[in-house]
Amino acid sequence: MTLTDTLFFSFKAIVSYRVRSLLIILAMALGVAAVIILTALGDGARHYVINQFSSIGTNLLVVMPGRAETSGAFPGTVLGETPRDLTLKDAQLLGRLPQIKRYAPLNIGVAELSAANLLREVTVLGSNANLIPIRHMKLAQGNFLTQGSAQSAQIVLGHKLAQDFFPRSQAIGQRVRLGENRFLVSGVLAPQGESMGFNTDEIVIIPIDYAQALFNTTSLFRILIEAKSHNDIQSAKQAILDTLKQSHDGEEDNTVITQDAVLATFDRILHALTLSVAGIAAISLIVAGILIMNVMLVAVSQRTAEIGLLKAIGATTIDIRRLFFAEALWLSLAGAMIGFMLGQFGSLLLRLAYPQLPAWAPAWATLAGILIALVTGILASLLPAGRAARLDAVIALSKK
Protein backbone atom coordinates (compact mmCIF):
# COMPACT_ATOMS: atom_id res chain seq x y z
CA MET A 1 0.00 0.00 0.00
CA THR A 2 1.53 3.32 -1.03
CA LEU A 3 1.85 6.24 1.38
CA THR A 4 -0.59 8.37 -0.62
CA ASP A 5 -3.16 5.57 -0.60
CA THR A 6 -2.69 5.03 3.12
CA LEU A 7 -3.21 8.71 3.85
CA PHE A 8 -6.17 8.93 1.49
CA PHE A 9 -7.82 5.75 2.77
CA SER A 10 -7.48 6.80 6.40
CA PHE A 11 -8.73 10.27 5.52
CA LYS A 12 -11.87 8.75 4.05
CA ALA A 13 -12.36 6.69 7.20
CA ILE A 14 -12.19 9.86 9.29
CA VAL A 15 -14.71 11.60 7.08
CA SER A 16 -17.11 8.65 7.29
CA TYR A 17 -17.05 8.60 11.09
CA ARG A 18 -17.99 12.25 11.23
CA VAL A 19 -19.20 12.72 14.80
CA ARG A 20 -16.40 10.68 16.30
CA SER A 21 -13.78 12.58 14.31
CA LEU A 22 -15.23 16.00 15.04
CA LEU A 23 -15.29 15.33 18.77
CA ILE A 24 -11.65 14.26 18.80
CA ILE A 25 -10.61 17.19 16.65
CA LEU A 26 -12.54 19.50 18.95
CA ALA A 27 -10.78 18.13 22.02
CA MET A 28 -7.39 18.52 20.36
CA ALA A 29 -8.24 21.98 19.05
CA LEU A 30 -9.36 23.17 22.46
CA GLY A 31 -6.13 21.92 23.99
CA VAL A 32 -3.97 23.68 21.44
CA ALA A 33 -6.09 26.83 21.65
CA ALA A 34 -5.79 26.77 25.44
CA VAL A 35 -2.00 26.62 25.20
CA ILE A 36 -1.92 29.50 22.74
CA ILE A 37 -4.42 31.75 24.48
CA LEU A 38 -3.07 31.16 27.99
CA THR A 39 0.52 31.77 26.96
CA ALA A 40 -0.61 34.83 25.00
CA LEU A 41 -2.22 36.04 28.19
CA GLY A 42 0.85 35.27 30.30
CA ASP A 43 3.30 36.72 27.85
CA GLY A 44 1.04 39.71 27.27
CA ALA A 45 0.98 40.36 31.00
CA ARG A 46 4.76 40.10 31.07
CA HIS A 47 5.15 42.61 28.26
CA TYR A 48 2.57 44.87 29.85
CA VAL A 49 4.40 44.98 33.17
CA ILE A 50 7.78 45.43 31.51
CA ASN A 51 6.49 48.19 29.27
CA GLN A 52 4.99 49.92 32.27
CA PHE A 53 8.18 49.59 34.19
CA SER A 54 10.34 50.71 31.29
CA SER A 55 8.13 53.71 30.73
CA ILE A 56 8.97 55.20 34.10
CA GLY A 57 12.54 55.91 33.10
CA THR A 58 15.78 54.80 31.49
CA ASN A 59 18.80 53.52 33.40
CA LEU A 60 16.93 54.45 36.53
CA LEU A 61 18.16 53.95 40.08
CA VAL A 62 16.03 54.65 43.10
CA VAL A 63 17.56 55.49 46.47
CA MET A 64 15.37 54.80 49.48
CA PRO A 65 16.09 55.47 53.12
CA GLY A 66 16.40 52.44 55.39
CA ARG A 67 17.81 49.05 54.71
CA ALA A 68 16.47 45.60 55.00
CA GLU A 69 18.98 43.25 56.58
CA THR A 70 18.75 39.61 57.37
CA SER A 71 21.78 39.30 59.60
CA GLY A 72 21.27 39.92 63.29
CA ALA A 73 19.20 42.63 64.92
CA PHE A 74 19.14 46.02 63.31
CA PRO A 75 21.66 48.06 65.35
CA GLY A 76 19.38 51.07 65.37
CA THR A 77 16.65 49.21 67.17
CA VAL A 78 18.98 48.27 69.95
CA LEU A 79 20.25 51.78 70.40
CA GLY A 80 16.85 53.35 69.94
CA GLU A 81 17.96 55.07 66.77
CA THR A 82 16.15 55.35 63.48
CA PRO A 83 18.05 55.14 60.25
CA ARG A 84 19.32 58.43 59.03
CA ASP A 85 17.06 60.27 56.65
CA LEU A 86 17.96 61.09 53.12
CA THR A 87 18.46 64.79 52.73
CA LEU A 88 18.77 67.28 49.92
CA LYS A 89 22.46 67.45 50.76
CA ASP A 90 22.74 63.71 50.05
CA ALA A 91 21.02 64.23 46.75
CA GLN A 92 23.40 66.98 45.76
CA LEU A 93 26.39 64.82 46.74
CA LEU A 94 25.11 62.01 44.53
CA GLY A 95 24.58 64.44 41.67
CA ARG A 96 28.31 65.01 41.56
CA LEU A 97 29.16 61.35 40.94
CA PRO A 98 30.72 60.79 37.50
CA GLN A 99 28.41 57.91 36.56
CA ILE A 100 25.31 59.97 37.10
CA LYS A 101 23.62 61.97 34.39
CA ARG A 102 21.00 63.69 36.53
CA TYR A 103 19.06 63.26 39.71
CA ALA A 104 15.74 64.26 41.11
CA PRO A 105 14.97 64.33 44.85
CA LEU A 106 11.40 63.39 45.58
CA ASN A 107 8.85 64.15 48.25
CA ILE A 108 5.29 63.00 48.00
CA GLY A 109 2.31 64.20 49.93
CA VAL A 110 -1.28 65.27 49.71
CA ALA A 111 -2.49 68.84 49.83
CA GLU A 112 -5.52 70.91 48.95
CA LEU A 113 -5.41 72.63 45.62
CA SER A 114 -7.75 75.57 45.13
CA ALA A 115 -8.27 77.99 42.30
CA ALA A 116 -11.18 79.68 40.60
CA ASN A 117 -13.48 78.77 43.49
CA LEU A 118 -12.72 75.09 43.00
CA LEU A 119 -11.10 72.86 45.58
CA ARG A 120 -9.76 69.33 45.68
CA GLU A 121 -7.13 67.17 47.28
CA VAL A 122 -4.23 66.32 45.04
CA THR A 123 -1.09 64.26 45.21
CA VAL A 124 1.88 66.57 45.34
CA LEU A 125 5.30 65.68 44.01
CA GLY A 126 8.11 67.91 45.19
CA SER A 127 11.19 67.73 43.03
CA ASN A 128 13.49 69.62 40.70
CA ALA A 129 13.42 70.23 36.96
CA ASN A 130 15.04 66.83 36.28
CA LEU A 131 12.03 64.88 37.48
CA ILE A 132 10.25 65.45 34.19
CA PRO A 133 12.93 63.90 31.94
CA ILE A 134 14.01 61.21 34.43
CA ARG A 135 10.46 59.94 34.88
CA HIS A 136 9.73 60.24 31.14
CA MET A 137 6.94 62.68 31.76
CA LYS A 138 6.00 65.15 29.08
CA LEU A 139 4.82 68.69 29.37
CA ALA A 140 1.98 69.56 27.05
CA GLN A 141 2.50 73.26 27.64
CA GLY A 142 4.92 75.54 29.49
CA ASN A 143 7.95 74.44 31.47
CA PHE A 144 9.07 73.65 34.98
CA LEU A 145 11.87 75.37 36.89
CA THR A 146 13.88 76.34 33.84
CA GLN A 147 17.25 77.95 34.39
CA GLY A 148 17.00 81.22 36.24
CA SER A 149 13.66 80.51 37.81
CA ALA A 150 14.85 77.73 40.08
CA GLN A 151 13.61 79.31 43.29
CA SER A 152 10.26 80.58 42.15
CA ALA A 153 6.93 79.20 43.31
CA GLN A 154 6.05 77.30 40.17
CA ILE A 155 3.59 74.48 39.84
CA VAL A 156 2.94 71.97 37.09
CA LEU A 157 -0.58 70.58 36.86
CA GLY A 158 -1.57 67.13 35.69
CA HIS A 159 -3.58 67.11 32.50
CA LYS A 160 -6.89 66.34 34.10
CA LEU A 161 -6.40 68.87 36.90
CA ALA A 162 -5.64 71.62 34.37
CA GLN A 163 -8.83 70.76 32.54
CA ASP A 164 -10.93 70.60 35.69
CA PHE A 165 -9.71 73.85 37.15
CA PHE A 166 -9.40 75.85 33.96
CA PRO A 167 -11.86 74.33 31.54
CA ARG A 168 -12.23 77.44 29.44
CA SER A 169 -9.05 79.41 29.92
CA GLN A 170 -5.36 78.79 29.50
CA ALA A 171 -3.96 77.22 32.69
CA ILE A 172 -0.46 78.63 32.24
CA GLY A 173 0.07 81.88 34.09
CA GLN A 174 -2.85 81.31 36.45
CA ARG A 175 -2.37 81.51 40.15
CA VAL A 176 -3.43 78.59 42.33
CA ARG A 177 -3.30 77.97 46.04
CA LEU A 178 -1.76 74.78 47.38
CA GLY A 179 -2.15 74.44 51.11
CA GLU A 180 -1.16 77.85 52.49
CA ASN A 181 0.98 78.94 49.56
CA ARG A 182 0.29 80.52 46.23
CA PHE A 183 1.86 79.08 43.10
CA LEU A 184 2.12 80.19 39.51
CA VAL A 185 1.09 77.54 36.97
CA SER A 186 4.14 77.19 34.73
CA GLY A 187 3.31 73.99 32.90
CA VAL A 188 0.72 71.32 32.20
CA LEU A 189 1.61 67.64 31.85
CA ALA A 190 0.68 65.82 28.70
CA PRO A 191 -2.00 63.17 29.29
CA GLN A 192 -0.26 59.91 30.17
CA GLY A 193 -2.87 57.98 32.06
CA GLU A 194 -1.99 55.26 34.53
CA SER A 195 1.56 54.21 34.95
CA MET A 196 2.42 51.65 37.61
CA GLY A 197 -0.95 52.27 39.22
CA PHE A 198 -0.26 55.97 39.57
CA ASN A 199 -2.31 58.43 37.59
CA THR A 200 -0.03 61.23 36.43
CA ASP A 201 -3.00 63.14 35.08
CA GLU A 202 -4.12 64.02 38.59
CA ILE A 203 -0.90 65.16 40.28
CA VAL A 204 0.85 68.46 40.72
CA ILE A 205 4.60 69.05 40.79
CA ILE A 206 6.19 71.82 42.83
CA PRO A 207 9.83 72.65 43.66
CA ILE A 208 11.32 70.43 46.37
CA ASP A 209 11.94 73.33 48.79
CA TYR A 210 8.30 74.30 48.73
CA ALA A 211 7.25 70.70 49.13
CA GLN A 212 9.47 70.25 52.19
CA ALA A 213 8.05 73.43 53.67
CA LEU A 214 4.52 72.32 52.85
CA PHE A 215 4.93 68.93 54.45
CA ASN A 216 7.17 70.31 57.19
CA THR A 217 10.04 67.89 56.65
CA THR A 218 13.71 67.96 55.85
CA SER A 219 14.02 64.40 54.69
CA LEU A 220 13.43 62.99 51.24
CA PHE A 221 11.07 60.19 50.27
CA ARG A 222 13.25 59.01 47.37
CA ILE A 223 16.07 60.12 45.18
CA LEU A 224 15.61 59.20 41.53
CA ILE A 225 18.85 58.91 39.63
CA GLU A 226 19.54 58.39 35.97
CA ALA A 227 22.87 56.74 35.17
CA LYS A 228 24.82 57.99 32.19
CA SER A 229 24.50 54.72 30.36
CA HIS A 230 23.32 51.19 30.86
CA ASN A 231 26.88 50.08 31.58
CA ASP A 232 27.22 52.62 34.37
CA ILE A 233 24.29 51.30 36.36
CA GLN A 234 26.22 48.82 38.50
CA SER A 235 29.12 51.14 39.27
CA ALA A 236 26.66 53.98 39.90
CA LYS A 237 24.84 51.80 42.41
CA GLN A 238 28.08 51.02 44.24
CA ALA A 239 29.19 54.66 44.15
CA ILE A 240 25.85 55.80 45.53
CA LEU A 241 26.05 53.33 48.40
CA ASP A 242 29.65 54.33 49.17
CA THR A 243 28.88 58.03 49.05
CA LEU A 244 25.88 57.73 51.31
CA LYS A 245 27.75 55.48 53.73
CA GLN A 246 30.46 58.10 54.01
CA SER A 247 28.06 60.96 54.55
CA HIS A 248 26.09 58.92 57.07
CA ASP A 249 29.11 58.29 59.32
CA GLY A 250 29.91 54.89 57.91
CA GLU A 251 26.43 53.54 58.40
CA GLU A 252 25.03 51.69 55.42
CA ASP A 253 21.43 52.62 55.94
CA ASN A 254 20.09 53.13 52.46
CA THR A 255 18.78 50.90 49.75
CA VAL A 256 19.40 51.36 46.06
CA ILE A 257 17.27 49.49 43.61
CA THR A 258 17.95 49.55 39.92
CA GLN A 259 15.22 49.55 37.35
CA ASP A 260 17.15 46.83 35.56
CA ALA A 261 17.11 44.44 38.48
CA VAL A 262 13.42 44.97 39.10
CA LEU A 263 12.70 44.54 35.43
CA ALA A 264 14.69 41.32 35.33
CA THR A 265 12.85 40.03 38.37
CA PHE A 266 9.44 40.83 36.92
CA ASP A 267 10.52 39.30 33.65
CA ARG A 268 11.57 36.09 35.41
CA ILE A 269 8.47 35.85 37.55
CA LEU A 270 6.07 36.46 34.70
CA HIS A 271 7.98 34.18 32.38
CA ALA A 272 7.71 31.41 34.95
CA LEU A 273 4.02 32.19 35.25
CA THR A 274 3.59 31.91 31.49
CA LEU A 275 5.45 28.60 31.49
CA SER A 276 3.36 27.12 34.26
CA VAL A 277 0.14 28.25 32.62
CA ALA A 278 1.35 26.69 29.37
CA GLY A 279 2.12 23.51 31.26
CA ILE A 280 -1.38 23.35 32.69
CA ALA A 281 -2.81 23.89 29.22
CA ALA A 282 -0.54 21.17 27.87
CA ILE A 283 -2.16 18.73 30.30
CA SER A 284 -5.42 19.27 28.45
CA LEU A 285 -3.59 18.22 25.30
CA ILE A 286 -2.46 15.01 26.93
CA VAL A 287 -6.04 14.40 28.02
CA ALA A 288 -7.06 14.89 24.40
CA GLY A 289 -4.39 12.35 23.45
CA ILE A 290 -5.88 9.82 25.84
CA LEU A 291 -9.28 10.55 24.33
CA ILE A 292 -7.86 9.77 20.90
CA MET A 293 -6.48 6.50 22.21
CA ASN A 294 -9.81 5.56 23.75
CA VAL A 295 -11.80 6.39 20.65
CA MET A 296 -9.32 4.59 18.41
CA LEU A 297 -9.57 1.49 20.59
CA VAL A 298 -13.34 1.59 20.21
CA ALA A 299 -12.87 2.09 16.47
CA VAL A 300 -10.69 -1.00 16.28
CA SER A 301 -13.32 -3.16 17.92
CA GLN A 302 -16.06 -1.59 15.82
CA ARG A 303 -14.16 -2.22 12.63
CA THR A 304 -12.94 -5.70 13.48
CA ALA A 305 -14.71 -7.17 10.46
CA GLU A 306 -13.19 -4.56 8.19
CA ILE A 307 -9.72 -5.29 9.54
CA GLY A 308 -10.28 -9.02 9.05
CA LEU A 309 -11.39 -8.41 5.50
CA LEU A 310 -8.39 -6.20 4.73
CA LYS A 311 -6.17 -9.01 5.96
CA ALA A 312 -8.05 -11.57 3.89
CA ILE A 313 -7.57 -9.56 0.73
CA GLY A 314 -3.89 -9.17 1.43
CA ALA A 315 -3.20 -6.26 3.76
CA THR A 316 -0.04 -6.81 5.79
CA THR A 317 0.06 -6.07 9.51
CA ILE A 318 2.23 -3.07 8.62
CA ASP A 319 -0.49 -1.78 6.28
CA ILE A 320 -3.10 -2.05 9.03
CA ARG A 321 -0.85 -0.45 11.60
CA ARG A 322 -0.11 2.43 9.25
CA LEU A 323 -3.79 2.96 8.46
CA PHE A 324 -4.71 3.51 12.07
CA PHE A 325 -1.57 5.50 12.66
CA ALA A 326 -2.46 7.76 9.72
CA GLU A 327 -5.96 8.21 11.11
CA ALA A 328 -4.55 9.47 14.38
CA LEU A 329 -2.17 11.69 12.47
CA TRP A 330 -5.00 13.27 10.50
CA LEU A 331 -7.06 13.78 13.62
CA SER A 332 -4.29 15.43 15.59
CA LEU A 333 -3.16 17.45 12.59
CA ALA A 334 -6.67 18.77 12.04
CA GLY A 335 -7.02 19.41 15.77
CA ALA A 336 -3.70 21.23 15.90
CA MET A 337 -4.53 23.41 12.92
CA ILE A 338 -8.01 24.31 14.08
CA GLY A 339 -6.63 24.86 17.57
CA PHE A 340 -3.96 27.14 16.16
CA MET A 341 -6.58 29.22 14.40
CA LEU A 342 -8.84 29.24 17.47
CA GLY A 343 -5.89 30.29 19.60
CA GLN A 344 -4.92 33.10 17.28
CA PHE A 345 -8.53 34.23 17.14
CA GLY A 346 -8.82 34.10 20.93
CA SER A 347 -5.63 36.11 21.32
CA LEU A 348 -6.99 38.65 18.87
CA LEU A 349 -10.18 38.95 20.92
CA LEU A 350 -8.07 39.43 24.04
CA ARG A 351 -6.12 42.20 22.37
CA LEU A 352 -9.33 43.85 21.22
CA ALA A 353 -10.87 43.58 24.66
CA TYR A 354 -7.75 44.79 26.48
CA PRO A 355 -5.81 47.05 24.12
CA GLN A 356 -3.14 47.66 26.77
CA LEU A 357 -2.34 43.94 26.92
CA PRO A 358 -0.10 42.80 24.07
CA ALA A 359 -1.56 39.28 24.09
CA TRP A 360 0.56 37.60 21.42
CA ALA A 361 1.34 33.95 21.99
CA PRO A 362 5.11 33.48 21.88
CA ALA A 363 6.31 31.37 18.96
CA TRP A 364 7.76 28.69 21.25
CA ALA A 365 4.38 28.17 22.90
CA THR A 366 2.51 27.94 19.63
CA LEU A 367 5.04 25.50 18.27
CA ALA A 368 5.09 23.47 21.48
CA GLY A 369 1.30 23.32 21.56
CA ILE A 370 1.11 22.00 18.02
CA LEU A 371 3.97 19.56 18.54
CA ILE A 372 2.54 18.17 21.76
CA ALA A 373 -0.80 17.71 20.00
CA LEU A 374 0.83 15.78 17.18
CA VAL A 375 3.06 13.71 19.43
CA THR A 376 0.33 12.74 21.90
CA GLY A 377 -2.00 11.93 19.01
CA ILE A 378 0.57 9.71 17.39
CA LEU A 379 1.62 8.06 20.65
CA ALA A 380 -2.02 7.46 21.49
CA SER A 381 -2.52 5.64 18.20
CA LEU A 382 0.31 3.17 18.76
CA LEU A 383 -1.61 0.89 21.10
CA PRO A 384 -4.86 0.75 19.06
CA ALA A 385 -2.94 0.39 15.79
CA GLY A 386 -0.92 -2.47 17.24
CA ARG A 387 -4.05 -4.15 18.51
CA ALA A 388 -5.69 -3.84 15.08
CA ALA A 389 -2.63 -5.24 13.35
CA ARG A 390 -2.50 -8.27 15.65
CA LEU A 391 -6.15 -9.21 15.16
CA ASP A 392 -6.61 -12.78 14.04
CA ALA A 393 -8.17 -12.65 10.57
CA VAL A 394 -10.35 -15.73 10.99
CA ILE A 395 -11.82 -14.53 14.27
CA ALA A 396 -12.16 -10.97 12.95
CA LEU A 397 -14.06 -12.18 9.90
CA SER A 398 -16.41 -14.37 11.91
CA LYS A 399 -17.52 -11.28 13.84
CA LYS A 400 -20.39 -9.38 12.38
Binding site: K12, L309, K311, I313, G314, A315, T316, A393
Partner: protein, 227 residues
Protein backbone atom coordinates in the same frame (compact mmCIF):
# COMPACT_ATOMS: atom_id res chain seq x y z
CA UNK B 1 -1.44 -26.45 -7.50
CA UNK B 2 -2.61 -26.89 -3.92
CA UNK B 3 -0.78 -29.55 -2.01
CA UNK B 4 -1.64 -30.37 1.57
CA UNK B 5 0.02 -33.18 3.42
CA UNK B 6 -0.56 -34.35 6.97
CA UNK B 7 -2.19 -31.05 7.94
CA UNK B 8 -3.42 -30.84 11.50
CA UNK B 9 -5.17 -27.94 13.16
CA UNK B 10 -6.44 -28.13 16.72
CA UNK B 11 -8.46 -25.72 18.78
CA UNK B 12 -8.62 -25.74 22.52
CA UNK B 13 -12.02 -25.77 24.17
CA UNK B 14 -11.27 -25.50 27.84
CA UNK B 15 -8.63 -28.15 28.51
CA UNK B 16 -9.82 -30.34 25.64
CA UNK B 17 -8.13 -30.27 22.25
CA UNK B 18 -10.57 -30.38 19.36
CA UNK B 19 -9.28 -31.49 15.98
CA UNK B 20 -10.62 -29.05 13.37
CA UNK B 21 -8.38 -30.71 10.81
CA UNK B 22 -7.02 -34.13 11.49
CA UNK B 23 -4.19 -35.31 9.25
CA UNK B 24 -5.52 -33.92 5.98
CA UNK B 25 -3.88 -34.94 2.71
CA UNK B 26 -5.25 -33.18 -0.33
CA UNK B 27 -4.12 -32.17 -3.79
CA UNK B 28 -6.09 -29.81 -5.99
CA UNK B 29 -4.94 -29.16 -9.53
CA UNK B 30 -5.07 -25.81 -11.26
CA UNK B 31 -8.46 -25.09 -12.87
CA UNK B 32 -10.39 -27.60 -10.77
CA UNK B 33 -13.91 -26.91 -9.47
CA UNK B 34 -14.11 -28.39 -5.97
CA UNK B 35 -16.85 -28.31 -3.38
CA UNK B 36 -16.16 -29.10 0.25
CA UNK B 37 -19.21 -30.30 2.11
CA UNK B 38 -19.97 -31.45 5.56
CA UNK B 39 -21.97 -30.58 8.68
CA UNK B 40 -21.13 -27.65 10.93
CA UNK B 41 -17.93 -28.24 12.84
CA UNK B 42 -16.64 -30.74 10.29
CA UNK B 43 -13.63 -28.48 9.64
CA UNK B 44 -14.58 -27.42 6.12
CA UNK B 45 -14.30 -23.68 6.83
CA UNK B 46 -11.04 -24.18 8.67
CA UNK B 47 -9.70 -26.03 5.65
CA UNK B 48 -10.76 -23.17 3.38
CA UNK B 49 -9.17 -20.55 5.68
CA UNK B 50 -6.01 -22.61 5.75
CA UNK B 51 -5.88 -22.85 1.96
CA UNK B 52 -6.51 -19.09 1.89
CA UNK B 53 -3.60 -18.50 4.27
CA UNK B 54 -5.83 -16.93 6.91
CA UNK B 55 -5.11 -19.79 9.27
CA UNK B 56 -1.95 -21.72 10.01
CA UNK B 57 -1.72 -25.48 10.53
CA UNK B 58 -0.26 -26.78 13.76
CA UNK B 59 1.65 -29.35 11.77
CA UNK B 60 1.89 -30.58 8.22
CA UNK B 61 3.03 -29.17 4.92
CA UNK B 62 1.20 -26.80 2.59
CA UNK B 63 2.48 -25.71 -0.82
CA UNK B 64 0.64 -23.36 -3.14
CA UNK B 65 1.93 -23.19 -6.72
CA UNK B 66 5.01 -25.01 -5.50
CA UNK B 67 5.73 -22.45 -2.78
CA UNK B 68 6.02 -23.83 0.73
CA UNK B 69 3.58 -21.55 2.53
CA UNK B 70 4.47 -22.72 5.99
CA UNK B 71 7.95 -21.21 5.66
CA UNK B 72 6.79 -17.75 4.58
CA UNK B 73 6.75 -14.66 6.73
CA UNK B 74 3.52 -12.88 7.53
CA UNK B 75 4.23 -10.18 4.94
CA UNK B 76 5.00 -12.70 2.22
CA UNK B 77 1.80 -14.58 3.03
CA UNK B 78 -0.13 -11.31 2.74
CA UNK B 79 1.38 -10.82 -0.68
CA UNK B 80 0.27 -14.29 -1.79
CA UNK B 81 -3.24 -13.65 -0.48
CA UNK B 82 -3.24 -10.44 -2.47
CA UNK B 83 -2.01 -11.90 -5.73
CA UNK B 84 -3.16 -15.50 -5.88
CA UNK B 85 -6.27 -15.81 -3.75
CA UNK B 86 -9.74 -14.32 -3.96
CA UNK B 87 -12.17 -14.70 -1.06
CA UNK B 88 -15.96 -14.70 -1.30
CA UNK B 89 -17.80 -14.80 2.00
CA UNK B 90 -21.30 -15.75 3.05
CA UNK B 91 -21.88 -12.34 4.60
CA UNK B 92 -20.14 -10.52 1.74
CA UNK B 93 -17.83 -8.52 4.04
CA UNK B 94 -18.04 -5.28 2.16
CA UNK B 95 -16.70 -2.18 3.92
CA UNK B 96 -19.92 -0.30 4.73
CA UNK B 97 -18.48 3.18 4.40
CA UNK B 98 -17.05 2.59 0.94
CA UNK B 99 -18.99 2.62 -2.34
CA UNK B 100 -19.28 -0.47 -4.51
CA UNK B 101 -16.49 0.81 -6.76
CA UNK B 102 -14.25 1.58 -3.79
CA UNK B 103 -14.84 -1.88 -2.34
CA UNK B 104 -13.85 -3.47 -5.62
CA UNK B 105 -10.77 -1.24 -5.76
CA UNK B 106 -9.49 -2.26 -2.30
CA UNK B 107 -7.17 -5.13 -3.35
CA UNK B 108 -5.65 -2.89 -6.04
CA UNK B 109 -4.96 -0.20 -3.44
CA UNK B 110 -3.33 -2.75 -1.15
CA UNK B 111 -1.10 -3.84 -4.03
CA UNK B 112 -0.03 -0.27 -4.68
CA UNK B 113 -1.27 -0.20 -8.25
CA UNK B 114 -1.34 3.33 -9.75
CA UNK B 115 -4.64 5.22 -9.79
CA UNK B 116 -5.12 5.32 -13.56
CA UNK B 117 -4.70 1.55 -13.85
CA UNK B 118 -7.01 1.04 -10.89
CA UNK B 119 -9.78 3.08 -12.44
CA UNK B 120 -9.51 1.17 -15.68
CA UNK B 121 -9.70 -2.20 -13.98
CA UNK B 122 -12.55 -1.20 -11.65
CA UNK B 123 -14.54 0.17 -14.59
CA UNK B 124 -14.17 -3.07 -16.50
CA UNK B 125 -15.02 -5.13 -13.41
CA UNK B 126 -18.16 -3.06 -12.86
CA UNK B 127 -19.11 -3.80 -16.43
CA UNK B 128 -18.34 -7.53 -16.17
CA UNK B 129 -20.59 -7.87 -13.15
CA UNK B 130 -23.28 -5.52 -14.42
CA UNK B 131 -22.77 -3.03 -11.63
CA UNK B 132 -22.18 0.22 -13.54
CA UNK B 133 -25.43 1.71 -12.25
CA UNK B 134 -24.46 0.83 -8.68
CA UNK B 135 -20.83 1.95 -8.70
CA UNK B 136 -21.36 4.88 -6.33
CA UNK B 137 -23.80 3.15 -4.00
CA UNK B 138 -22.78 2.00 -0.56
CA UNK B 139 -23.39 -1.64 0.44
CA UNK B 140 -26.42 -0.66 2.53
CA UNK B 141 -28.09 0.60 -0.65
CA UNK B 142 -27.49 -2.64 -2.56
CA UNK B 143 -29.52 -5.84 -2.69
CA UNK B 144 -28.02 -9.09 -1.46
CA UNK B 145 -27.28 -10.27 -4.98
CA UNK B 146 -25.64 -6.97 -5.87
CA UNK B 147 -23.55 -7.12 -2.72
CA UNK B 148 -22.30 -10.59 -3.56
CA UNK B 149 -21.55 -9.44 -7.11
CA UNK B 150 -19.47 -6.60 -5.67
CA UNK B 151 -17.71 -9.11 -3.44
CA UNK B 152 -16.96 -11.40 -6.37
CA UNK B 153 -15.74 -8.47 -8.44
CA UNK B 154 -13.44 -7.58 -5.56
CA UNK B 155 -12.24 -11.19 -5.24
CA UNK B 156 -11.38 -11.37 -8.94
CA UNK B 157 -9.99 -7.90 -9.59
CA UNK B 158 -6.43 -9.09 -8.95
CA UNK B 159 -7.00 -12.04 -11.32
CA UNK B 160 -6.20 -14.63 -8.67
CA UNK B 161 -5.50 -18.22 -9.59
CA UNK B 162 -7.87 -19.57 -6.95
CA UNK B 163 -11.25 -18.36 -5.69
CA UNK B 164 -12.29 -19.52 -2.24
CA UNK B 165 -16.00 -19.18 -1.54
CA UNK B 166 -17.42 -19.89 1.91
CA UNK B 167 -21.18 -20.47 1.61
CA UNK B 168 -21.40 -17.83 -1.12
CA UNK B 169 -25.17 -18.23 -1.48
CA UNK B 170 -25.91 -18.75 2.21
CA UNK B 171 -27.49 -15.32 2.65
CA UNK B 172 -29.25 -15.22 -0.70
CA UNK B 173 -32.57 -16.62 -1.92
CA UNK B 174 -32.59 -19.49 -4.37
CA UNK B 175 -32.95 -17.46 -7.57
CA UNK B 176 -30.22 -14.91 -6.72
CA UNK B 177 -28.04 -17.68 -5.33
CA UNK B 178 -28.21 -19.48 -8.65
CA UNK B 179 -27.15 -16.29 -10.47
CA UNK B 180 -24.19 -15.88 -8.13
CA UNK B 181 -23.20 -19.51 -8.74
CA UNK B 182 -23.32 -18.85 -12.45
CA UNK B 183 -20.90 -16.00 -12.04
CA UNK B 184 -18.51 -18.11 -9.99
CA UNK B 185 -18.74 -20.98 -12.44
CA UNK B 186 -18.01 -18.59 -15.30
CA UNK B 187 -14.76 -17.75 -13.54
CA UNK B 188 -14.00 -21.44 -13.37
CA UNK B 189 -14.69 -21.78 -17.10
CA UNK B 190 -12.08 -19.06 -17.69
CA UNK B 191 -9.53 -21.22 -15.91
CA UNK B 192 -9.66 -20.09 -12.28
CA UNK B 193 -9.52 -22.76 -9.62
CA UNK B 194 -12.78 -22.60 -7.68
CA UNK B 195 -13.21 -24.04 -4.21
CA UNK B 196 -16.60 -23.73 -2.57
CA UNK B 197 -17.52 -24.63 0.98
CA UNK B 198 -21.19 -25.38 1.49
CA UNK B 199 -23.54 -27.65 3.32
CA UNK B 200 -26.09 -27.37 0.52
CA UNK B 201 -25.97 -30.80 -1.24
CA UNK B 202 -27.52 -29.49 -4.44
CA UNK B 203 -24.96 -26.74 -4.70
CA UNK B 204 -22.09 -29.05 -3.84
CA UNK B 205 -23.20 -31.49 -6.51
CA UNK B 206 -22.56 -28.90 -9.24
CA UNK B 207 -18.80 -29.10 -8.60
CA UNK B 208 -16.74 -31.56 -10.62
CA UNK B 209 -15.06 -32.80 -7.51
CA UNK B 210 -16.82 -33.15 -4.20
CA UNK B 211 -15.05 -33.58 -0.91
CA UNK B 212 -17.03 -34.69 2.09
CA UNK B 213 -15.75 -33.92 5.54
CA UNK B 214 -16.62 -34.93 9.07
CA UNK B 215 -14.82 -34.36 12.35
CA UNK B 216 -11.80 -32.83 10.66
CA UNK B 217 -11.27 -35.72 8.31
CA UNK B 218 -11.90 -36.14 4.60
CA UNK B 219 -14.48 -38.90 4.27
CA UNK B 220 -15.25 -38.86 0.57
CA UNK B 221 -13.51 -37.46 -2.49
CA UNK B 222 -15.45 -38.03 -5.70
CA UNK B 223 -14.93 -36.61 -9.15
CA UNK B 224 -17.27 -36.59 -12.10
CA UNK B 225 -17.07 -35.02 -15.48
CA UNK B 226 -18.18 -31.55 -16.23
CA UNK B 227 -21.83 -31.27 -17.12
Amino acid sequence: MIHLSAITRTFHMGDQAVYALDNINLDIAAGEYVSIMGPSGSGKSTLLNLIGLLDKPDSGYYALDGIAITDLSETEQAQIRREKIGFVFQSFHLVPRLTAAENIELPLILSGIPVAERQKRVASALQDFDLQQRALHRPAELSGGQRQRVAIARATIMQPSVILADEPTGNLDHQIGAEVMMLLENLHHKGTTLIIVTHDRELGARAHRQIGMRDGKILTDQSHDAH
